[in-house]
Amino acid sequence: MSTAYTADEMMTVAAARMLRNGAVCFVGIGLPSTAANLARLTHAPDAVLVYESGPIGAKPSVLPLSIGDGNLAETADTVVSTPEIFRYWLQGGRIDVGFLGAAQLDRFANINTTVVGPYAKPKVRLPGAGGAPEITSSAKEVLIVVKQSKRTFVEKVDFVTSVGFLAGGDSREQAGLTGKGPVAVITDLCILRPDPISRELKVATIHPGVDREMIASNCGWQIQFDENCTQTEPPTEEGLRVLRDLKARTAAAHGVEGEAA
């Protein structure tokens, strides 16, 4: 097989690597679910995947198209009700990592999945919150995977659906939020991490073949690069093979591309 890979594959592999083996991970549908399952099928076989529809310890052989697909229930250690997921397992403090996507993101990793434009008369009505507001506040830490563009990386989000570091600095702690917040944002161009003091996202590693100009021109704010910024480790052949097999199995099972919106 070829070791050439797409920017999307780099993003998914880089996101998967962030999930440590054994972590209990609350998984959003789409890119986060792809990355979390890739992690489970490679370096993190003991990661516990929790989906908001109720499956705990799901081990799907193909990617779910919806957050409540039957194969999540069939392969889970247990399936609980949705109130129980949010009350006992998330709010109860049992989630190590929340793995989420975003429609809009600002420099402090605040997420908007609600509206583009004013709330009362939106230009685009997006799906809304789902489980994300309480995941970003209650999970011990948060990973965000999102394709980078000026449309997604904005100076100011039109609506704060789910909080990152609010206005930066210690404003998250001041607000009394329990979890640590976003520890990394993985895009198709780079990996960003919050500055320990200002909490502004800074480019920590740049994916192979990407330059600083590409990252800056796909960002709506003046993006900062960490002084120790390095290159992202490229995907291994094994990682790519497992990801492509997973996607092929998914396409065959669903009759459609297995990547959720």
Partner: protein
């Protein structure tokens, strides 16, 4: 005690214009047949509640049945937008739709509060977000023991809850399994309850801790095989992903949507006839 009736009778006697209606099912067991029957009987001014509006509420909203929607995630799962929902919010078509937007955790807690006969739900949520700015029913309460400030939101108390389940016995005791979502809580929070089931059986033969809704918390029970399609019923049939994808183009355009609702829902007599039409190869060809 639940009464075994036809779905048409159940909707006629339990769903009234202006009612607050919850039709739950988290991706799984979505009561599509009942949703169609509400459209067929041309109910109006409903206040709809559902965590994930999905295609079922896109159809009800586009057909003009709703004046308010309370929800927490309004998309076509795995596909993209709900175009009828968006058209109603963005352009008031076919009628204006008021929205009350909450989070999954909030609505799940609010159903629990409703089932427990409490006036409001308490949760650790919404901190730092913009929700309270646009929804004045999202408030806060201070814990009398620790002083912690927590989110407080009104309980969900539907006039009618509608769910789909796998089985009911001849007495109307209902059994469901797989992904359960908030169905049990939605049933116990409601004044009246309609349950459609895949099959009517002599005995449920279920384990002691199975999710069983006793007959006496259900108002009407109806046998509607495949009543959750295009969503799925665990142990019976899979999700019709092709239809979920096709809905994106059917619903994108007002005329095409209206023609679809006319032909497939308003002009069919029952869900069985709708399914027959769906299985027609000429109809199938349109989706592929």
């Amino acid at each position: 005690m639940a009464e075994w009736v036809s779905l048409a009778e159940a909707v006629a006697s339990n769903v009234r214009d202006g009612d607050c209606v919850a039709m739950e099912g988290f991706t799984h067991l979505i009561p599509f047949a009942a949703g169609h029957e509400i459209i067929r009987q041309r109910r109006r001014s409903l206040s709809l509640i559902r965590m994930t509006p999905d295609l079922i509420y896109d159809q009800l909203i586009g057909a003009g049945c709703a004046e308010k929607l309370t929800f927490s995630w309004g998309g076509n799962p795995g596909v993209g937008s709900l175009h009828r929902f968006r058209d109603a919010v963005e352009n008031d078509w076919p009628v204006p739709l008021a929205i009350e937007e909450r989070s999954h955790s909030d609505l799940a807690n609010a159903y629990v509060a409703g089932a427990a006969n409490l006036p409001f739900a308490v949760l650790r949520g919404y901190t730092g977000s913009d929700f309270a700015r646009v929804n004045d029913r999202i408030r806060s309460i201070t814990c009398p023991f620790t002083g912690e400030v927590l989110a407080a939101t009104p309980a969900v108390r539907p006039d009618v809850t509608v769910i789909h389940a796998q089985k009911a016995d001849w007495k109307g005791n209902v059994l469901l399994w797989g992904i359960l979502g908030v169905q049990k809580e939605a049933v116990l929070a409601a004044k009246r309850v309609i349950v459609t089931v895949e099959e009517r059986v002599r005995s449920l033969d279920a384990a002691a801790n199975a999710c069983i809704l006793p007959s006496w918390v259900v108002t009407a029970v109806c046998e509607v095989p495949r009543g959750a399609t295009p969503s799925y019923a665990h142990g019976y049939y899979d999700r019709d992903n092709v239809f979920y994808r096709a809905w994106d183009s059917i619903s994108r355009d007002r005329e095409r949507f209206s023609a679809w609702i006319d032909r497939h829902v308003l002009q069919t007599e029952s869900f069985a006839n709708y399914l027959k039409l769906q299985n027609d190869p000429r109809v199938q060809a349109v989706y592929s």
